[in-house]
């Protein structure tokens, strides 16, 4: 985990007066799965576009892959591009071509041919769970199927760095689960993955480290665990009580049998109450998640914009 696969240094990009990316710096280690989290318009897609050279930064720099003298990690270089796979947020597949033809075409652009191409196409079709629909035109696919194909195309040339820009939008829970499992497999194989999303639970489940950004700025960056303990705050416990022995002090607010309180270590609190003879009818513990981290950091909910 010592060689960074992606390094962004003091990156800025403006569109007119709007600072879409503002002095952003972070690096993704080799083999790491890194989450880039932020609400709509935070600058995630812009960051990806800068990373792959679709946009030119106003300031700062981007380095992809191993930095060698002949290969400065600039995404303008074909050798650098060859090692990067991208699933853009906007679907980018040919609707008039079949799933298989899409994969074959992009595979050929990356120099694949013959048996190798065949093997990779089959692998990708399997990855996207589209093997049975391989010969169907992508235009007739459902939104989720297109999304899966869009992601599979990014993998056709076995990149060592994978950039996924909100790859699960519109994908049903079952397929989403399949995608998560596939990503975990890729991670185990040592692929470096940069994953943008505004679904906190995805980042929490998949990513070792997460960067939270808003208005183009980096707000926090750490492991999920550290972020939660640092910014997550207390858990919220709500419960309906059956009986309360007299003399036992109940924390928080109470109305009739229902109680509600916050605590940094909810289970310890519940155990303490239980040992004092409090009988619980229902118990609900809401642990802090990245959602609450974001709330804490910005004072806004993630998906209210």
């Amino acid at each position: 985990m010592s060689i960074p696969a992606v390094t962004i240094t003091a990156l800025s990009k403006s569109f007119g007066d709007l600072r879409a990316v503002d002095d952003l710096s972070f690096s993704v280690q080799n083999g790491e799965t890194f989450g880039l989290l932020g609400p709509n318009g935070a600058g995630k897609t812009t960051t990806i576009s800068l990373l792959i050279g679709l946009l030119r930064p106003d300031h700062g720099s981007v380095v992809l892959g191993k930095t060698e003298s002949r290969d400065p990690g600039n995404p303008a270089f074909a050798t650098v591009r060859q090692s990067v796979g991208v699933a853009p947020q906007a679907l980018s597949i040919y609707e008039a071509l079949t799933a298989k033809e899409n994969l074959e075409f992009f595979g050929q652009l990356y120099g694949l041919s013959g048996a190798k191409l065949k093997e990779r196409v089959a692998w990708c079709l399997d990855f996207a769970q589209l093997a049975e629909r391989a010969k169907t035109r992508a235009g007739t696919f459902s939104g989720g199927m297109k999304r899966r194909l869009n992601m599979a195309v990014a993998l056709i040339h076995e990149p060592s760095i994978l950039l996924l820009d909100e790859p699960t939008v519109g994908v049903d829970p079952q397929s989403r689960n399949h995608i998560f499992e596939s990503i975990q497999t890729l991670r185990e194989q040592g692929m470096t993955i940069l994953y943008t999303t505004h679904y906190m639970e995805e980042a929490q489940r998949l990513c070792e480290r997460v960067a939270i950004m808003d208005h183009g700025k980096l707000l926090a960056m750490d492991t999920v665990e550290n972020l939660l303990s640092q910014f997550g705050g207390d858990s919220i416990i709500t419960a309906d009580l059956q009986s309360i022995p007299s003399g036992v002090e109940i924390p928080g607010a109470r109305s009739g049998n229902r109680i509600r309180f916050v605590a940094p270590r909810p289970l310890e609190e519940v155990a303490k109450l239980s040992s004092k003879g409090v009988a619980f009818q229902t118990l609900n513990v809401i642990q802090p998640d990245l959602e609450s981290v974001f709330l804490k950091l910005t004072g806004r909910n993630l998906r209210d914009g």
Binding site: G53, L54, P88, A90, L91, S92, L109
Partner: protein, 438 residues
Amino acid sequence: MNPILVMALKDLRLLFRDKLGAFFIIGFPILMGLFFGLVMGSPTSSVSQGKMKIAVVDLDQSETSSKWVSFMAKHESIELEELDFDTARESVRKGGRVAMLVLKKGFGETAGVFWREPPTIQVGVDPSRAMEAAMLQGMVMEGIGQLAGQRMMDSSSMNDMIARSRADLVADETISAGNRLLLNTFFASLEKMQNSIGALQADSDESSAGSLGAGGFEFANIESIDVSRKIDPKSQAAQLPRLKSRWDISFPQAMMWGVLGCVAGFAVSIARERTQGTMTRLQIAPITRSQVLLGKALACFLSVVLVVVFMVGLGVFLGMRPGNYLTLAFAALCVAICFTGIMMIMANLGKTEESVNGAGWAINMVMAMVGGAMIPVMFMPQFMQGLSYLSPIKWGILAIEGAVWRDFDFAEMMLPCGILLATGVIGVVVGTTILTKE
């Protein structure tokens, strides 16, 4: 595989997957070609089906001469009209008639009589219609032959003629006694034969009499009249007679619609790469921007060649007979390069498929109308013909026609082909430069 080729093959596949696009490229041109070809009718059939327009100037005004005229008029491939000399000549010069025939005074006396000096028939033929002239010459001879045959059959007139000839013979003192004897014997036997034929009342048909003419005997001296063309070589009258089949005009024209279909189709496809997001993938793939664009250009080039090859194939199947396939291949190449260039420029007309398609077809329609893809340039009013020089379509049609029926030589091909090539190269360079700078 070379990425340019990979791109091009993908784009060709996409083009033919698009039903409407494919219709504009193949279906529409077929309909246009067939429709206008059928409307135009066949130039060769007009020769064989009695529509060869001939003017006759009968200066003799004898019974025989009018008989001959009626023989000629009966011919099913001739449309005959008696005119005075000047009117007749003018009509041939202007291309209104294929030829004029002049029967000089005294025609009746010698026509169809073997032993006299054959009559002189003056023929003035439109120089651009040599093939028809040859046919006409045959028919003229046949007419005289029929005249001769009829004279022989018609005993009374023949006997009368023999009697008159004998009288001439007697009066002519320049004929030696020996010869006179010989001729007298000849006339006597001729009279005898004539009578027996009359007795048999031969129900001979005219064709057997006509075959006399085909026997190699010279029935008439053909003398030519100068009717060198006064007409503008650019007029329809000058051009139409050179057509070899009814498809000669309609197919080159129709091809251009297919070519324009390719142009619009690929210009739109560049915009479509943007709108459907695939341009992003192409840009981040390990290929250069110019490779992407050259792939588009190659696909457009190939599809234009395909359209021309297909339409020529269909035309040949229907009866079109291109004069020179090598020239035709060169013309097709130039057309393909020209319109590839135009496509690359057109791709810059808008950011969305709709805007490129709208602007593209608007330009296409103007180029097509002005360039003669709807109404052939030769049928256009004068000022429109002048405007047509500005349309690449005109040069495309001219290049193809030059190879198909205009029988252009290399030097003549250089004008349309040079313009097409220059337009194409400029288009590719300018279009690619703008597109890569974005």
